[in-house]
Point group: C2
C-alpha cells in the first residue's frame, strides 16, 4: 500500500505558506488593505520569513477571497480614490488555525549566498573572502538593529502580541548568533 504521502487534512485545499502568512497578518488587525499588508510584511515578516512582492500580495488576497478566507469592502479615500480593505472570515481563521496546528513541520529554508561564495574560496584570494564576510556582517548588523526596534515595538502592545514579541526576540538573537558565527569564521580564516 502506498505510504501516506501528504496527509491532506479534511477539506484542506493546499495553499502556499505565503498565503497563510498574509492571512496571518490579517488575524491580528481588523481590516487591512493590500498596501498596508505590504508595509507590515516588510517591517515584521522579513525577519524570520520573507516579504512577498506587492503584486503577489494582491494575488494572494484574490485567492484568499475566492476561498472565502477573507472578505473585502471598499472604503472611500480622498475624492475619487477608493481603497479595498480585507478582513479575515471565520472560515479563514479556522483554516489558518488548522495550518498552525499541523503536526508536519517543514524545516526552515536557508539560502545563504554569502556562505556559498565562501565555500568557493579556492577560486579567489583570502582577502576577497574576508571582504565579502565583512560586507555580510554589516548587513547582518543592520538587520539586528532593525529587529531590535521591531522587538521594542512589539513589547508595548496588548496580549495578542505575546507571540510576536517572542518571535521578535528569537530573531534578534538569531542575528546576534549569526554575527558570532561570522566572527568565528573570520578568525579561522587566518
Amino acid at each position: 500500500m502506498a505510504a501516506a504521502r501528504k496527509e491532506p487534512r479534511s477539506n484542506d485545499i493546499t495553499i502556499p505558506a505565503t498565503a497563510y502568512a498574509v492571512l496571518g497578518l490579517l488575524s491580528f488587525e481588523q481590516e487591512l488593505s493590500g498596501y498596508d499588508l505590504k508595509k507590515w510584511a516588510d517591517s515584521i515578516l522579513r525577519f524570520f520569513y520573507w516579504a512577498p512582492a506587492v503584486s503577489q500580495i494582491y494575488g494572494e488576497l484574490k485567492r484568499l477571497d475566492r476561498l472565502g478566507y477573507v472578505t473585502s469592502r471598499e472604503v472611500p479615500q480622498d475624492d475619487l480614490r477608493n481603497k479595498r480593505v480585507y478582513r479575515i472570515t471565520d472560515s479563514g481563521r479556522a483554516a489558518l488555525t488548522e495550518w498552525v496546528e499541523q503536526d508536519d513541520v517543514e524545516p526552515p529554508v536557508l539560502k545563504h549566498s554569502p556562505l556559498l561564495r565562501v565555500w568557493l574560496g579556492h577560486l579567489t584570494t583570502p582577502d576577497h573572502i574576508r571582504e565579502l564576510l565583512l560586507s555580510h556582517r554589516a548587513n547582518t548588523e543592520q538587520m539586528l538593529e532593525d529587529a531590535r526596534k521591531s522587538e521594542a515595538q512589539a513589547h508595548n502592545n496588548p496580549e495578542q502580541w505575546h507571540y510576536p514579541e517572542l518571535v521578535a526576540r528569537f530573531s534578534m538573537r538569531h542575528f546576534e548568533a549569526e554575527l558570532g558565527l561570522v566572527d568565528a569564521l573570520l578568525a579561522e580564516l587566518d
Copy 2:
C-alpha cells in the same frame, strides 16, 4: 540620472545562483554526471544553501553548456548505457570566480515556517506551540548530526577543501545556535 541598478558586470549574462552552485560543484572535481551532482548537492550544499531537484540540475547543466561554461562527453557505462560527464571550462571558471568576487552580496534568505507558526500562536494553545517547537528541535538535531559528519569528511582532504571545511564548521555551529535559540524560546513560553 537613473541610479545604478544591477551593475551588470562586463559581459555577464545573469544566471541564477543555482547555476553557480552547480558550476561550483564542478570546480572541485574533475568530471561529474548530473546524477553525481545531485548526490553531492544533497550531501553538502543543503546545509547552507539548498538542494535543487534532479530535473533542475539537468536543466542547469544544459544552460551552462550553452554558455560554454562546461563541456561534456559521454563515457560508456555498462553494455549499452552511457553516462554524460561534465567538466568546467576556463570560461566557466572565470565566470564563477567573477561571481564569487562580486562585491554586491545578497543577504541570506531565511524562510522559517516553524517560527511563522509560532508567530501565530494566539490562534492555538501553548501546548501546540511547544509541540511544534520540539518537533522543529528534533529536525534541527538531525541536521546538526549530519553536518557534523560532513565536517568530519571535509576534514581529511586536500588543500582545496579548506574552505568547504570552514563552511561545514559554520553550518555545524549554525545548527547548534538554532538549538539554543529554540530552547530559549521554549523556556520563555512559560
